[in-house]
């Protein structure tokens, strides 16, 4: 268990390193937002070890949602989807302000973040497959970022939803799920930062696997 926890912590360094190594190919497409999120996530983990205060996590959840909202808002092409991202942010702000003093704030905010990010991911994937310029969706950096967030938040949704009802031992036991998908998320982010942008169009494409 402890190994997975350490691995999850160090896995945070992977996307940061790859982003900096392949800085040139990661310009544009709002990838800096994901890079910033990875840096903040790593710093929060470190800070929490030092300070051990819930406020650190609460602050991080708010910033995290803000970054994801901005990322999806800037990458959505359809106006309606942008409005949905704005509406989601408004809902999150209202809920966050109303429950900030609540001791369950982390639980509420994290659960809401998961639900909203899952919705954004579905919209983003829908938009990507509808995009006529996309030849192979998996050669797109945005696709890997989206599935990283999609898998992470849908796998940990139930964990956050039930986190208040779990005992300390249970929480400790089930936290491995979070750690495992944290590693997976960082690997997928790294893939996104490593791959080269796909410039092929359907007209120039000469082959396809059968």
């Amino acid at each position: 268990m402890l190994v997975v926890t350490y691995l999850a912590y160090f896995a945070e360094i992977l996307p940061i390193s790859f982003y900096l190594i392949f800085l040139k190919r990661n310009r544009g497409e709002g990838l800096w937002v994901i890079f910033l999120y990875c840096v903040l996530s790593l710093l929060t983990e470190g800070l929490f070890v030092l300070i051990q205060q819930q406020l650190v996590f609460s602050g991080f959840i708010i910033v995290q949602f803000g970054l994801f909202s901005y990322y999806f808002y800037s990458t959505f092409r359809q106006k309606n989807f942008r409005y949905i991202a704005l509406l989601g942010s408004a809902v999150f702000c209202v809920v966050a302000i109303a429950n900030f003093s609540n001791e369950r704030f982390t639980w509420i905010a994290e659960s809401l973040t998961s639900i909203l990010v899952i919705i954004y991911c579905i919209l983003s994937l829908y938009e990507q497959i509808k995009d006529p310029e996309t030849v192979f969706v998996y050669r797109n950096k945005k696709f890997w970022v989206t599935i990283a967030l999609f898998i992470y938040f849908s796998s940990t949704l139930f964990l956050y939803l039930f986190s208040t009802t779990l005992s300390r031992e249970q929480r400790h036991m089930y936290w491995a799920i979070n750690n495992f998908f944290e590693i997976l998320k960082n690997i997928l982010f790294s893939v996104s930062f490593i791959i080269i942008k796909d410039h092929s169009t359907p007209a120039t494409m000469e082959y396809i696997d059968n």
């Binding site: 192979f136 999609f150 796998s155 039930f162």
Partner: protein
Amino acid sequence: MTLLDVTSPGNVSVVLFFGTIGMLALTIGLIVFIIFHQRKVIRYQMKLQKMEQDQQKLLLNASIRLQEEERQRIAADLHDDAGPLLATARLYLNENLVNLDKTTQLQSIYNAKQIIDDTIQLIRNISHSLMPPTLKNFGLESAVNDLFQKISGSGSMNASSRFHDYRERLQAENELIIFRVIQELVNNILKHSNASFIHLTQNTSGNKFFIRLHHDGRGITQNDFIKLNKSNVGLGLKNIQSRLKVLHGKIFFEKDMSQTYYKVTIELVKEEEDKLQEQE
């Protein structure tokens, strides 16, 4: 009290386990579906693209074959007609001419002159068949009227044409393309339809330019035209299609309302013509 609050602690593990597995399965299922769906779409696009390429290839082959046939015809005309004529003229003007008596010399020169005149006429005819002078000098309307008068004059068929709105001439190259299309259509009617009359009308409607051909013989419909275009036969029709493609024009083959006559409509957009003009 929320639903989560009423979940008993014993059930929490089960719900959490199955909930997480379920969500993960849904997510992975959705991602796999997206990838396969996209591949399917790409395959479909590729198929469409290949079909279009095949069609282009057919049109190109037809155009090349037609060009070759035209070259062969010109070569045959020059070789079979102009060649022997010039050879005969050369015979009259051979080296022995100076040794002959004056009357024979004059006769030979006169004969050679006659043959050279015939050759000039022959070459002029070839040149006219390549580019009708009426079309070049007076435009599509005059060239079509001229063509139809010649057909009527032969007595085999009653041919008439009427241009309702052709005050502004199209670009010369485009007039030639339309004229060739009309020639090809008329040729087809003469060869295959057994018609007793052809009537051509020209109209404009907004920015659209129409040419309609009616005849009372055997004709083809749009379905036949599409089928012939996809097959290896119907060289002339493919040629029509490729010529009209240059002008971004359309052609429709149909039976008219009374189901008595066949109608061919050529439709061009005048703006396209202007754009082509601007490009040049």
